[in-house]
Symmetry: C2
Subunit: 241 residues, 2 copies
C-alpha cells in the first residue's frame, strides 16, 4: 500500500504504546527492514500501558519486543509517575519549574539501554518519539541533548548508532498528520494509551497528556492540508504515498 | 589521622568492591562530608563481589549503600562476564580487538544510574574508578568519553554534576600509591576483589585483572618514593598528610 522503499537496515524503537512512540514505530516499519522494540516496565502508574504496547507490537508485526524491568528507577527517583501517593497535576501546571511528572534522567536511561540493545543486535538506529515541544518541561527532550548524548554513546561504544527522533520538531497536530500520512490515524486514536490516568484512546480528558493529544487532534482536523504539508516538509517526506 | 579538610559536600561512588573503586571510596570519604555508594548486581560471575562490597562499605562507614539489580543487562549483552559458558581469557589476550570481557555500554549505564541517584539526593559528584589505562580495551574508559558524557547528562538533567574519575590518568602502580597515601594499602590488598575468577585479595593470579593488579603492586614496591611522588603530582595531593 505504501511505496516507500525499505532499507535493509535494523532499528530499535523505544516503545511505550503511546501516541508518539506508536507513530514512530509505524514509520520505522516502513523505513527499516527489521524493527525491534523495547518497552520499559518501571511499575508505572498504569500497568495497562504494557498490555497496550504488547498488543500494538504484535499487530504491527515487529521482529522482537523486549519488555525490560527497570523498577530500580523507583528506588532512585521521586515522581508522581512512579509513586502512587502523589496526585497527577492537571494540565494547567506551573511551567516555570519541572513538573512532578518529571522522572530525572528517564530518557537518558531509556536511550542508554536501547543503545546497548542496538549494539548487541547490530542495529544502525535507535528511534524514540521525543519532541522538542516538551522542552519547557523535560530537559532531556532537547535536540541539543540528544545530539550530545548520541555523540557520547558512540564514543563510548565505538559504534555509529544513529539516534533518530522523527517527532523532534513536530507539534502534536503534526504528529497526528504523520500518523495520517501512514494511514494509521484511527489506529493511533483508538489503540494507543497516552493518558496519565491509564485510559486508552481518548483518555480521561483532564490530564496534561490528554489535553495535548486532544487539542493537537482538533488543530489537525481543523486544518488538515496545511498541517500535512508542514509536517511533510519537516520530515522530508514525499508528497505522494 | 589524616588532616585533609572535609568539604560539606555529598558524593555518589560507583562501587564494585574491587581495588580501583575501593581506592576511590577511601579518597571520597576524606574529601566529602557524606558518601553514598551504588553497587550493581547484574548476576556477575561472582556473587562474592557483592558480599565483599557490602563488607567494605560498612567498614568504611558510608552514608548509604544501594545494591541495584540490573540483571536486564544480561538480556541485552553477550559477554564472558555475564554468561557462564564463555571461558575467561588469560592476560595475554589479543589487544587489537575488544576482549570478550567487554560489556558494551556497561560504564555508560552505571554512570547514568549513578547520576540519577546523585540528582535525587542532591549530590554534587559522581565518582568512579575508571582509568584511561584500560583505554585499549574499553572505549568507555576514555577521558574524552567521560567529559562528553558528563556534559550530555548535565544538559539532560539541568544539573551540574561533577563526574570525578580520580584514577583516570593513573597506572596500577600509582593506584596502589594512592591507597598507600591514605594508609589503606593493606585493606586494598587483603579485602578487595578484582580477580575475574572471584578470589578476594591476591586472587587467582592467572586472569588479566590479577596480572594487572599484581604487576602494579610489584612496580610500586620496587620504586615507592618515585611512584608516590608522581601519583601526588597527577592527583594534586599535598606532600604531607
Amino acid at each position: 500500500m505504501i511505496n516507500i522503499r525499505k532499507k535493509t537496515k535494523q532499528a530499535v524503537v523505544l516503545f511505550s504504546g503511546g501516541q508518539d512512540s506508536t507513530t514512530c514505530l509505524i514509520q520505522a516499519c516502513q523505513f527499516y527492514n527489521k524493527v525491534y522494540c523495547i518497552t520499559f516496565d518501571y511499575n508505572q502508574r498504569h500497568r495497562q500501558e504494557i498490555k497496550v504496547a504488547m498488543r500494538l507490537a504484535k499487530h504491527l508485526g515487529i521482529q522482537e519486543h523486549k519488555i525490560l524491568d527497570i523498577t530500580i528507577l523507583n528506588e532512585l527517583t521521586i515522581s508522581s509517575l512512579t509513586r502512587f501517593n502523589i496526585p497527577i497535576p492537571n494540565y494547567k501546571f506551573n511551567t516555570t519549574c519541572l513538573p512532578s511528572t518529571f522522572v530525572p534522567g528517564r530518557n537518558i536511561l531509556f536511550l542508554t539501554i536501547s543503545a546497548i540493545y542496538a549494539y548487541t543486535i547490530g542495529a544502525e538506529s535507535v528511534i524514540a518519539g521525543i519532541s522538542e515541544n516538551d522542552f519547557l518541561n523535560y530537559p532531556d527532550c532537547r535536540k541539543e541533548f540528544i545530539n550530545l548524548f548520541g555523540n557520547a554513546i558512540n564514543l563510548g561504544m565505538e559504534r555509529n548508532i544513529n539516534f533518530e527522533m522523527p517527532l523532534m520538531s513536530l507539534n502534536k497536530a503534526e504528529t497526528w498528520a504523520l500518523a495520517d500520512y501512514f494511514q494509521q490515524l484511527q489506529l493511533i486514536r483508538l489503540e494507543t494509551l497516552t493518558c496519565y490516568n491509564g485510559i486508552k484512546g481518548d483518555g480521561c480528558g483532564n490530564c496534561s497528556a490528554c489535553y495535548a493529544r486532544a487539542s493537537g487532534l482538533a488543530d489537525y482536523e481543523a486544518n488538515r492540508s496545511n498541517i500535512m504539508k508542514e509536517m511533510k516538509k519537516k520530515c522530508f517526506l514525499k508528497n505522494v504515498l
